[in-house]
């Protein structure tokens, strides 16, 4: 179950992971993209942190919406609208009454798929969200599930995003958005563990 409070903690931990791995994420984005994924995400998560600073007493919907708006207006690139849409869809779902994690994540993933038009196997963040959602629905999300999902993007041929320009030469590289999504779910696991 997500609450305003653990969602704030979740994003806080996610922000720390992004900050720590900023250079690594941009490095991953260099051979198969344009080398900015770490910088994009770091800019966005800094904005999220600032925007959440006075939201301690806000409700879950407001928290989701705040996160979504910060991401949408600060990240840019492909990952901004995608992560932003994910949180916007969670805001909508929570407004409709749910605090249930599987339901929220399902809404988020549907939003990502609709926004970007990609599907599982296209070597994008969706290849992490899809197995993670399945595991959450089955009640057995573990770090191994996340790691395997991230790792699964390596042999894939990119079909969406900048990496798709490389065609078969994208094989052998992790997808940067999949790696950052991995951090998102690792942070979620940590929050759930507490």
């Amino acid at each position: 179950m997500l609450t305003a409070q653990n969602t704030i903690t979740w994003l806080d931990k996610f922000g720390d992971a992004i900050e720590k791995n900023k250079a690594y994420l941009s490095d991953l984005d260099t051979p198969i993209g344009d080398g900015d994924h770490g910088n994009n995400m770091a800019r966005g998560l800094t904005a999220v942190k600032a925007a959440l600073a006075d939201k301690d007493d806000a409700d879950l919907t407001t928290v989701f919406k705040t996160i979504a708006m910060a991401l949408i207006s600060k990240v840019g690139g492909a990952s901004g609208p995608l992560y932003g849409t994910a949180f916007l869809e969670m805001a909508k779902a929570s407004k409709a009454g749910t605090t249930d994690l599987p339901t929220l994540l399902a809404a988020a993933l549907a939003g990502i798929e609709k926004r970007g038009g990609a599907e599982a196997g296209d070597k994008t963040m969706i290849d992490v969200w899809t197995p993670v959602l399945a595991a959450v629905q089955a009640g057995n999300l573990t770090q191994a599930v996340i790691d395997d999902a991230v790792e699964s993007t390596k042999p894939m041929i990119a079909k969406k995003g900048r990496a798709s320009y490389l065609g078969e030469r994208s094989v052998g590289h992790l997808d940067p958005g999949a790696v950052s999504s991995g951090y998102l779910f690792t942070a979620l696991l940590e929050v759930e563990a507490n």
């Binding site: 941009s26 344009d34 949408i72 840019g76 690139g77 492909a78 849409t85 079909k159 995003g161």
Partner: protein
């Protein structure tokens, strides 16, 4: 990385500020954004607005083409990163005169998604918005199942044609039809001698040896289709023109517009030599461009290289649009 900048994080706001203050007669900046709108507001009255934009690093694109007869506004994202929807939305609102706004988007997932979100926002305000997604780079194979081709230097011809038509009073629907009609006839392909360094990244997007070049590189250092040893300009022309010929089926009974575009660090000296070889090669096919431009217009920061755009002017009006006078910093 040796660059004339301050903190890499501040490059975009500082550069937008420098540009707008240097050229107040052309541009004004919307508060709290990196969106730049035509200063000559009167020239927009009663006309459809044309808004373009994208990541920074392609200067003078896009802001250099804002002005009477061309763009109404340009939105600058972070370096090589699409601008965000709120900023694009702000630009749309600022230029709308009740006749609707037309968006020129380059085909990158980021740009497409951010512009789409801005469009959704504007439509909630009852502003009519239509758009074209430019995908002129033939280095990448087109496919329904991928992102498709990239939008590169040929986008400038799209800006020019639409800007001229809008200035002459074309409606939003007419601009939409014009954009769709023009789109397949603009093709571009590039050759790179070195890659760009994004300030916040601090190192080049790729490395080429001292005697190596790469064909088909994109404007964000996206990889191309072949690397080889540097060749004489003549041979580079043969390679690029060959690809464009395959795609456009050049025909001496047609009229063509040509853009020889420096990628940022390539001196005009090289661009003019390349143009000399290009004009010779075209002449051999019986073609003399009806319109030509040579210069660093759609750059990739300090990338060295040249892109070649050919625009098949299947409608004679398009040449008039290209020749239509504009008041911009960079056209």
């Amino acid at each position: 990385m040796k660059k004339i900048i301050n903190d890499p994080k501040d490059v975009v706001p500082e550069m937008v500020d420098g540009l707008v203050r240097a050229y107040p007669q052309y541009l004004k900046q919307l508060p709290d954004t990196e969106a730049m709108v035509r200063s000559d507001t009167a020239s927009m009255a009663g006309k459809v607005g044309i808004v373009s934009g994208g990541g920074s690093g392609h200067e003078p694109t896009h802001a250099g083409f804002v002005g009477k007869g061309m763009l109404s506004a340009a939105v600058a994202g972070q370096v090589f990163t699409s601008p965000t929807p709120d900023q694009i939305y702000a630009a749309i609102k600022a230029v709308d005169q009740g006749k609707g706004v037309f968006l020129v988007i380059k085909n990158y997932s980021g740009d497409v998604m951010n512009f789409d979100m801005a469009k959704d926002m504007a439509e909630m305000d009852d502003i009519d918005v239509k758009s074209v997604v430019v995908d002129d780079d033939i280095a990448v194979e087109d496919s329904l199942y991928t992102q498709g081709r990239r939008g590169v230097a040929g986008t400038l011809f799209m800006h020019k044609v639409l800007g001229a038509a809008a200035d002459q009073g074309a409606s939003l629907d007419e601009l939409d039809q014009l954009a769709q009609a023009v789109l397949p006839h603009i093709n571009t392909i590039a050759v790179a001698l070195s890659a760009a360094t994004v300030p916040e990244v601090g190192k080049p997007g790729f490395e080429l040896a001292d005697d190596e070049i790469e064909y088909g590189v994109g404007i964000h250092s996206e990889p191309g289709y072949r690397r080889e040893k540097i060749k004489p300009s003549k041979d580079l022309v043969a390679e690029l023109l060959g690809k464009l010929d395959d795609s456009l089926q050049l025909d001496q009974s047609h009229q063509y517009a040509v853009l020889v575009n420096g990628m940022g660090a390539t001196p005009l000296m090289e661009q003019y030599v390349f143009s000399h070889d290009l004009l010779d090669a075209l002449a051999e096919k019986g073609i003399k461009p009806a319109f030509m431009k040579v210069g660093s217009y759609m750059t990739s920061i300090e990338m060295a290289g040249i892109s070649l755009t050919i625009f098949d002017l299947t409608d004679a009006k398009w040449l008039d649009y290209l020749n239509y006078p504009v008041e911009t910093i960079a056209w």
